[in-house]
């Protein structure tokens, strides 16, 4: 069972980074909010760049195949948490 407090903190961090990215207040976002429809002016190109921005923010590299599969904020939180927990692959 995952740590709910940790997930909440991660969610808040992600909301903060999305706000920085779109330069707007996105405090209305909730775990069930859909990334594609809950952020004003979001487009498919912005979504790709947003995920690149998240990679930079968290020092991670997302798998290219999952980039199109994030539906809700919760999906993003789960993916980033799992990636943070994954053992580092040898170079």
């Amino acid at each position: 069972m995952h740590d709910e407090k940790r997930d909440q903190e991660l969610f808040e961090k992600i909301v903060g980074h999305i706000g920085e990215f779109v330069e707007a207040d996105v405090s209305h976002l909730a775990p069930d909010s859909h990334l594609a429809t809950s952020i004003e002016g979001m487009s498919s190109l912005k979504m790709v760049e947003l995920l690149l921005y998240m990679e930079d923010c968290f020092g991670l590299e997302f798998d290219g195949s999952v980039m199109d599969k994030f539906g809700t904020m919760r999906d993003l939180v789960t993916y980033i948490r799992d990636l943070q927990d994954a053992p580092q692959q040898p170079a």
Binding site: V22, S44, L45, K46, E49, L52
Partner: protein
């Protein structure tokens, strides 16, 4: 009309800089130019290129510089031509300028987002393919300047981008003029833009031996000077609202001048050389379109960029066009002030010509200190000259043997 250039972000900045003999050429700062022979540029001050909130604000920030400069100049042109009515509660600092329906956009762009292409290639090689921005392609395609203007201002008729090298902007103005003349449009935004101050531009032009090697920005480029040694890269956007005269007068618009003639042609003796014969043919065509003879031209805003061959070829062409004229026009070039702004150079010339018509003053050819003896028979302005200016000829020529000319008259 609207402009942003090395002399500033307003038409008055440009005009005051021209008549005051101010050079916008500086040691270039967009990258370290140490490995290049040419280390100067006519740069736009990005701090002044700002936009009120409005559609596509997020995307505009990610566009290559030429898109942002074109948008800025178009905003100024729209404000100039369609000022908000007194009762309009639009806050100019919070919304982009508005315009009536039925308009179109015609913009000349030669090299598009070359800085974005170069940066994109470097990022791909250094950080990997997947780090490429999804905005890379939209930011660099040459049409994005016209498209961004049209999208931001809700202009839903044709948006045309013309790539005719350094004649692009002049060709765009001519095409807009033809569309209005034909009755297809009552008004259009038209002009040109260029912003390619990036290393690959310098290496490419240096390989052609096209850039001035002078280090002192106060002494280069030198159009028509016997010590001219090439051009200096410049950045600019100049955009105009062109409109059917009756339509403009009916709505009480300020009319800066009247475009009465346009011609464009092709032909050169080499892929990049300027051909006197074809330039002369182009000038004659523009005059014929305006239904005037060479006597009627008071001033020629020359393409002259400080190139040895090009400056001489243009004056040879003018010499042949005016051979039988009773009076010879004054000739001037802006390039010593601004550098060569490529696709924007003709539209920049048009801004200067309209201001010359308004102020009855021909601006000087800056940095012309030692006139080439081969041009001794030509009346080249070396100082700002107050004189009667009723009609001007604007020239532009580009690689590939493209020439374009406009005749503009006092309103």
């Amino acid at each position: 009309m609207g402009v942003v250039c090395p002399l500033g972000p307003t038409v008055d900045d440009l005009w005051q800089g021209l008549v005051g003999g101010r050079s916008g050429i500086v040691p270039l700062t967009r990258f370290d130019p140490g490995r290049f022979r040419s280390r100067c540029a006519g740069q736009i001050d990005d701090a002044v290129v700002t936009f009120p909130p409005g559609p596509f604000q997020f995307e505009i920030k990610r566009m290559s510089a030429f898109v942002r400069y074109a948008l800025f100049a178009a905003d100024r042109a729209l404000e100039d031509s369609f000022p908000p009515a007194a009762e309009d509660d639009r806050n100019a600092e919070e919304e982009p300028p508005s315009c009536p329906p039925g308009g179109a956009v015609f913009l000349g762009v030669a090299m598009g987002g070359l800085p974005s292409i170069e940066a994109g290639v470097l990022k791909q090689e250094q950080q990997g393919v997947r780090r490429t921005s999804p905005f890379l392609i939209p930011s660099l395609i040459p049409n994005m300047a016209a498209s961004a203007i049209a999208l931001r201002h809700g202009i839903e008729e044709e948006q045309m981008t013309i790539a005719g090298a350094c004649a692009s902007g002049t060709q765009a103005l001519g095409q807009a003029m033809r569309a209005i003349r034909s009755g297809a449009r009552t008004w259009a935004l038209a002009g040109g833009v260029e912003a390619v101050t990036t290393p690959i531009t310098y290496s490419g032009f240096e390989a052609m031996r096209a850039l001035s090697g002078r280090d002192d920005p106060a002494s280069t480029p030198r159009p028509f000077d016997r010590e001219r040694d090439g051009m200096v890269v410049g950045e600019a956007a100049a955009v105009f609202v062109l409109e059917d005269r009756a339509h403009a007068e009916a709505r009480g618009a300020v009319v800066h001048g009247e475009l009465t003639g346009f011609a464009t042609n092709g032909g050169c003796d080499g892929i990049t050389a300027i051909s006197p014969r074809h330039v002369a043919r182009c000038m004659t065509g523009a005059l014929a379109d305006a239904a005037v003879g060479p006597d009627a031209i008071d001033c020629v805003f020359a393409h002259a960029s400080g190139m040895i061959q090009g400056d001489a070829a243009e004056l040879e062409a003018l010499r042949s066009v005016t051979a039988d004229a009773r009076r010879k026009p004054i000739v001037t070039s802006l390039k010593g002030h601004t550098g060569h702004t490529f696709a924007a150079s003709g539209p920049m010339n048009l801004v200067a010509a309209l201001m010359a018509l308004r102020h009855q003053t021909v601006p000087p050819t800056l940095k012309l200190e030692k006139p080439d003896p081969a041009f001794a028979d030509m009346d080249i302005a070396r100082e700002a000259r107050t004189t009667e200016v009723r009609r001007c000829l604007v020239n532009a020529s580009g690689f590939g043997g493209i020439n374009a000319g406009l005749v503009v008259s006092r309103a």
